[in-house]
């Protein structure tokens, strides 16, 4: 976990995973029906 914070590339990956995870949840909860 330390590597993900102390290394810029690691931090990049960590934030990207969090962001895409949040987006996937948002898609499942709110957007799936809208897109049908």
């Amino acid at each position: 976990m330390k590597w993900f914070i102390n290394n810029m590339f690691g931090y990049w990956i960590l934030l990207l995973v969090i962001s895409c995870g949040l987006s996937a949840i948002c898609y499942e909860l709110f957007l799936k029906q809208l897109m049908k």
Binding site: I5, N6, N7, M8, Y11, W12, L15, L16, I18, S19, C20, L22, S23, A24, C26, Y27, F30, L31, L34, M35
Partner: protein, 355 residues
């Protein structure tokens, strides 16, 4: 109560406000309109394509005004460069749109556009990333050597080449502290305008690197100056789209509410960081947009049958907005911690301004 209907679809209001906020933060920080993020996001929310594009254009114009006012207060706009470039940009956009119509008429459209987007953005990403990493290393070394470091550090020698071109009229950009042939600025405007018109985007993510690496401004000035360009090009786009009836003004209203807060924060955030931090975020934005365009290219080439690819594209489109917004917010948080003498990751101190 928290939903409203657009073109037969029920859209949650908070998603529109959130989209406006995140793109406002990103746009205020790196000087882009964010059309390449917002239009696909609105389509995901259920907007028809034409309505997404028109609503986005209107929102970009409003957001750029808010960001520009804030950047003007921060002293991040060079009016000489901005006004010299406007004519070239408008001419370039018109040429780009005509080139687009021509390619459609000869039977090349979607695939060529996407392939061109991928190639241009990938090239810009590689150059920006390599140069910014070198600048970051130089900043780290100077900091360790105890040297005093300014708000901007660049290692690219390209601007010196362009500033030496002796074609009259030569203009003096006082704010940017540089002397350059006006033709260089006009041609940069035309070239970036052609790309913007051809690719169907505002062009901020092409113009900001061009201002930094060709004209030779600092990253902060490039951001503010580019936002002035976006007011003109975005305003024209908003007017045209409104006349065609492609704008949902209620959606624009809710997005602008979010963008008002986001753009203020994003613009103010630039005062906490050094130039390479802005270029880092710009390059991240470029690579994410490249991957998004590449996925759409694969989707088109596979005949639009790969459902899993469509799902990933949706998650990625929303994810890139959240990612960039989170990166900027945490960078500001790290900057404040560093100013207060608290511990921050090793890569942060060279990128942020110390009180």
């Amino acid at each position: 109560m928290f939903d409203f209907t657009v073109a037969g679809h029920v859209v949650p209001i908070f998603l529109l406000v959130l989209t406006g906020f995140t793109v406002g933060v990103v746009g205020g920080f790196i000087g882009v309109g964010g059309g390449y993020m917002v239009t696909p996001a609105l389509i995901v929310f259920g907007f028809p394509g034409y309505m997404a594009s028109g609503t986005d254009a209107c929102h970009i114009a409003g957001k750029s005004v808010i960001s520009s006012i804030r950047h003007r207060q921060l002293g991040n706009i060079d009016w000489t460069i901005a006004l010299s470039m406007v004519g070239g940009t408008m001419l370039g956009v018109e040429l780009g749109v005509r080139l687009l119509v021509y390619t459609k008429n000869i039977g090349l459209s979607g695939v060529v556009l996407l392939a061109a987007s991928v190639a241009v953005m990938l090239g810009l990403f590689i150059y920006t990333q390599v140069e910014t990493q070198k600048s970051h290393k130089k900043l780290t070394a100077d900091r360790k050597a105890g040297k005093e470091i300014g708000r901007e550090v660049k290692v690219s020698t390209l601007p010196l080449f362009f500033q030496r071109i002796p074609i009259m009229p030569i203009i003096k950009a006082r704010k940017a502290r540089l002397v350059i042939s006006m033709w260089v600025i006009v041609i940069v405007g035309v070239f970036t305008g052609v790309l913007a018109g051809f690719l169907g985007v505002g062009g901020g993510f092409i113009r900001v690197p061009a201002l930094v690496y060709v004209v030779g401004t600092t990253s902060h000035l490039a951001v503010g100056t580019d936002l002035v360009e976006i007011i003109v090009s975005g305003g024209y786009g908003a007017l045209r789209q409104s006349m065609e009836g492609n704008v949902d003004f209620m959606a624009v209203f809710f997005m602008i509410i979010g963008a008002m807060m986001g753009a203020q924060f994003g613009s103010l955030a630039t005062s906490f960081v050094r130039g390479p931090a802005i270029r880092y975020i710009l390059s991240y934005s470029l690579i994410l947009a490249t991957v998004g365009a590449a996925m759409r290219l694969v989707y088109v080439l596979t005949g639009g049958t790969a459902e899993w690819l469509a799902f990933i594209a949706v998650v990625f489109t929303l994810g890139e907005m959240v990612f960039l917004c989170l990166f900027i917010c945490t960078l500001v948080w790290f900057a404040v911690r560093h100013q207060n003498g608290k511990t921050v990751p090793e890569w942060v101190p060279p990128l942020v301004v110390t009180a």
